[in-house]
């Protein structure tokens, strides 16, 4: 029906515009919005069978990806949708209502890859099953921050000195929850040129946590006294490496030098099945305006000097000690397993 399709196109366009104008405040906001969008699309769109649905999802998802290539969350959510469709289809195919076999053995993952499931059967119960699953997924997304914060007391002991960089909502909630029952200190690196650390320091101080704000240059100097580094990240790559705010690699190296545990708080929707092969690859790094670094007041210099302002940094998995996600704590070496539960290998290439 044309009106339905145009309606769907309408909401897709709104979403794409918001994406281009960067109206989403943070990954969680973006994830929630995109899943709600998918819910609407899948609910209202006309499709006959799972194969058709998946193709349509892939098409739309690809468009989103091209609009904003460095926002990995969109790609992640698209792949989650695809995995949900596949799972529900597989379950209904078997005809039994048992839980999907989460205990896929390593052998199964390695060998059973090329079994071509035929998704073209029309199963009437598929749509409500998918919608229900998406609903559960949304609830999981919304409570991801709370689930991570609930683990705070297991990781922070009394009188610790914790270091963090920039502003991460996840880390803020984590520390705030821990501060209700434990006394500790936080050192925040301000993370130039955006200085998000200032906001975190002010918020932590208002939450009655002893905070010290330091410039980025003092990270190595202060690391000698830090007990733990807890940071948030933009995404977690398939090998367990991080795509995080610029300055995180230095922080990780300093932590390694002093053997300080490097803990990353990242909800599951940030887990991305892509790898970083080179720091120059497309979509990995973005550059913000050089005016933040060298302001245009310095007219004489600006015209004669190259100024770079990278936003992201890559942190290799050897420097990370622990990932804390809404499902619990994991080592970087376990990420591959989590990936196989979240996404299907055929969907990695959208």
């Amino acid at each position: 029906m044309p009106s339905l399709e145009s309606e769907i196109e309408g909401i897709i366009e709104t979403f794409t515009n918001n994406l281009k104008q960067r109206k989403f405040k943070g990954s969680r906001d973006l994830a929630l919005n995109s899943v709600q969008l998918w819910k609407k699309i899948i609910g209202q769109m006309k499709w006959q069978n799972a194969r058709e649905l998946m193709d349509k999802i892939k098409e739309i998802g690809k468009d989103f990806q091209e609009t904003s290539p460095s926002e990995t969350v969109i790609g992640n959510m698209t792949r989650r949708m695809l995995k949900i469709v596949r799972d529900e289809y597989a379950m209904l195919q078997k005809g039994k209502q048992e839980d999907s076999d989460l205990q896929e053995s390593l052998q199964k993952i390695l060998t059973a890859d090329e079994v071509d499931v035929d998704y073209s059967k029309n199963i009437p119960l598929l749509k409500p099953a998918i919608m229900e699953h998406i609903g559960e997924f949304l609830i999981e997304l919304e409570s991801s921050e709370i689930d991570i914060s609930a683990q705070a007391l297991e990781h922070i002991h009394a009188n610790e000195i914790i270091m963090t960089i920039g502003y991460s909502k996840t880390v803020f909630a984590f520390l705030k929850t821990a501060a209700k029952d434990r006394a500790f200190q936080v050192i925040v690196a301000e993370c130039a040129p955006f200085y998000h650390g200032h906001k975190l320091a002010a918020d932590l101080a208002e939450a009655q946590i002893s905070t010290t704000l330091i410039p980025d240059s003092a990270i190595f100097a202060m690391m000698a006294r830090v007990n733990k580094v807890i940071i948030g990240t933009h995404s977690v790559m398939a090998n367990g490496g991080l795509k995080a705010v610029c300055g995180t690699h230095t922080l990780a190296l300093a932590a390694k030098h002093y053997s300080v545990p490097f803990v990353v708080c990242a909800p599951m929707f940030k887990l991305c099945p892509e790898y970083v092969c080179s720091l120059d690859q497309d979509g990995f790094n973005q550059f913000a305006s050089p005016e933040e670094v060298l302001s245009n007041d310095e007219g004489m210099l600006v015209s004669r000097v190259n100024v770079y302002n990278p936003i992201f940094d890559y942190v290799p998995p050897e420097l990370v000690t622990l990932f804390i996600s809404n499902t619990g704590g994991n080592a970087p070496s376990y990420i591959y397993r989590l990936l196989s539960e979240l996404y299907h290998s055929l969907d990695v290439q959208l």
């Binding site: 202060m222 610029c246 230095t250 190296l253 000097v305």
Partner: protein
Amino acid sequence: METGKKVQSEGSEKTKQEIMAERKAKKAEKAAKKSQPIKTTEHGAVTILSESIQTNTVKADETGKSKADLKAERRQKQEAQRAAKAASVTEGKQSVAPKVQQGKRIPDQIQADRPSVEKRLVKRYVSQKVPQLPPAERKVQLFSHLQQQERTLELLTKDLAVNQSKIHPAVIKLGLQYASGIICGSNARAVALLEAFKRVISDYSTPEQKELSRDLEVSLKPCINFLKQCRPISVSMGNVIRFLKRHITNIPSESTDVQAKKCLHEEIEKYIHENVELAGKTICEEASKKISSGDVILTYGYSSLLLQILLKAFNEDNKKFRVIVLDSSPRSEGLQFLRRLVAFKIPSVYMLISGASYVMPEVNKVFLGAHALLANGNVMSRVGSSQVALVAKAHNVPVLVCCETHKFCDRVQTDSFVFNELGNPDDLVAAVKGKPSVHSIANWRELPKLSLLNLTYDVMPGDLVTAVITELGSVPCTSVPVVLRVKHAETVQLTSP
């Protein structure tokens, strides 16, 4: 080794025995005085206390008369000790060595958390009419052993009388230049200090019945304390002061004022010429050999020596290289460095220190300046340099530190906490002033749990440094104590009678 120790202990025992004998004599005197009728006044309680405690400290216990007596005794004792020391020096140098090892003073500026030290400092400043600064409202706990004061130009000059004679006006000017950051950088501060001292020495006149070699040193003390209040003195300045004191005490007592001043002026000029100018030229030659055409060189912050090196390599030796300048708030010294590079048309790139990991894969060499080189091989430099060295090591890029030998010091430090300088915390807020997108923490003092930390220096572990380029050649970090020993031997040779 053992015989040396024995001689040491003998020498110290001798002086110890002397002291013990004098103590016994004094005790006997005290006892004799007590047998006289004691004045039962308010001092009565004090005398009973001093009896029971029987300490050796000379307190005005009974009457004003005995105070003068005790003072005269003390002076006699000091003269006797001085004579004894002079005698032992002519015998051999053994008694000098144990004194140095036993009495190594911990500098006052890292004992701000000890009230006894603070009290002593305050007393000294009051007697020398040096302005005192109020302590900072919000101190960072980890650094409570360092001076944290509210330091502004108004507070420094508030109680300074116009015509007071203790602090020379050239020194006041210098102090204010230090405090406001107009003169910044190890070399610049040392040279400016020497120039100011030249003025002080030329305006100095020996009062009657005093010797220039003793009194000049005493008159320099309030000047030095004032400078310490303006800004904690750097290692290069400390070496300058030690050098000057050594030469002042070695002035023969029969020389006239004019001769002595001339001699001191020559020494000062020689120090500047040899240790700063010639050393700089030698280091430039050496470092320029390490730069090849097509190199990408990374620097951090501002170093006057590095600027000289790069200019020489680019202009005189005609090497074509690119420079990447890293910078950090709040000081933005890299910007000053960049300006000068651009003025000389050296192709440059400018970034913040958080981007170090981004650029490091394309860097060939990292050149850093130093504030001081410590005796255990660590490098004390502007805060952030050690971070740059760490990232360079992780990417296998060689790190070359360029430092003249007058900045070497015999202090040892393993971390950046024990000995550091804390800058003005409001600088962190000032650095983001014009940016509307940044959450303003200008009201940080209203948040009792928030403190801002503005470190000045950090200590780089020696294993992050590939080589140190000095005027004595390129040495590894571990050779610093060797160089110090050689220098010490030279100075002892030069100044021995």
